[in-house]
Homo-oligomer: 230 residues x 2
């Protein structure tokens, strides 16, 4: 469904060369529930942004359904991002002048959802992440964990084939975090593919497949193997 071939990302800053992602291969199959864990700065967000077509690699390619994304035109990539991929940003990236509901509605509008359906769908999504009483709050009138949950609801809005979530529970207590993971597990059982970056090893162990990153490199381990997560 989504794969990486010799995917590499180098940043150059002043005199420094940072190998944020070393050449990497990865295959994501339809229906997978994948967790990616690793230390701060190890390249997790870099990888997720490349898979989400939000960033371009220094070399190598991302393939969507076996077709190289690098070969697609701007409109096709934008259409993929809008319709097939749902991205939860580590820094949330909400629009500050819109309310929680409007932030979700705008994602629906961009994907062509008719107006009369948008309000109901946005409310239902926000309720599913516990924000039913915060629909009319703007981001600055929400707690950190509430903003995080608006970002999650927005990523789910268009029923994307693949949900790419960058630390979706980092600002949540364990109870609320578990509720969010259950929402994702329900969606996965219903057919959605999930790739979740997480520092929370309790959550990472619940995934169907687990990848560990370190210094721009990645390897797959068995989520049920307690020694894998040292």
């Amino acid at each position: 469904l989504l794969s990486a071939r010799n995917l590499e990302r180098i940043y150059r800053l002043g005199g420094q060369t940072i190998h944020a992602l070393k050449p990497l291969n990865m295959d994501i199959h339809r229906g997978d529930f994948i967790a990616i864990a690793g230390p701060s700065g190890s390249g997790k967000s870099t990888l997720l942004q490349l898979l989400g077509l939000i960033d371009s690699p220094t070399s190598g390619e991302v393939r969507v359904r076996s077709q190289a994304a690098q070969g697609l035109g701007r409109e096709q990539r934008a259409s993929l991002r809008l319709n097939s991929l749902g991205f939860v940003f580590q820094a949330f990236n909400l629009l500050h002048m819109l309310t929680a509901r409007q932030n979700v509605e705008i994602a629906l509008a961009l994907a062509g959802c008719p107006r009369r359906k948008r309000r109901a769908r946005a409310s239902q999504l926000l309720e599913s992440v516990g924000l039913g009483k915060r629909l009319d709050h703007r981001p600055l009138q929400l707690s950190g964990g509430e903003r995080q949950r608006v970002a999650i609801a927005r990523a789910l809005a268009n029923d994307p084939e693949v949900i790419l979530a960058d630390e979706p529970t980092g600002n949540l207590d364990s109870q609320t975090g578990l509720e969010i993971v259950r929402v994702l597990e329900d969606l996965n059982r219903a057919g959605q593919t999930i790739v979740m970056v997480t520092h929370n090893l309790e959550i990472a162990k619940r995934a169907g497949r687990l990848f560990l990153m370190r210094d721009g490199g990645m390897r797959e381990v068995d989520p049920e193997d307690p020694t894998a997560l040292d």
Copy 2:
């Protein structure tokens, strides 16, 4: 050193009245290491911002060394914030056009630290949180956990009497998070008072005093009592 008396914070939004903090009393003694935990939206950031004189209460008062902060003039409050309190924001609040080092240096400059000393102190602080190789990166060129650590280094810059940290490890893997907590514990042993909001119960249990919040209310529990953190 720092205390709350009948401290209350109500937000009014459209027709809604939100009791973010119900009338609360709290005494923070010099040398305390306090953790505050609780569900998303329970009022932790609201309380911390009131204690840090960043927000004003709806009723009640915050006292600094037994003197009501509400009675102080603007300049005195600003001086307290600058010199006696170090605040780590949940959303980091870094200046995007400045590098990591400059973000820390600016805090030192505002507090009157002479120029020749600022650069060395900023570098040393950033190294202590593992960012020695990221001094010249701007926030958008840093990972989420790296930005979080810049925010921590900045709060420590002026050697404040009280460090108020809002979720300082939320974007960090357990290893890096533990390193940060050890930095705070070292500072605490050397005499600095620490109030840390955290969702991480492993970290919360290490504190000298533990408070649990729920729906704007708060109670103190024994950090060594395993049943307290259900």
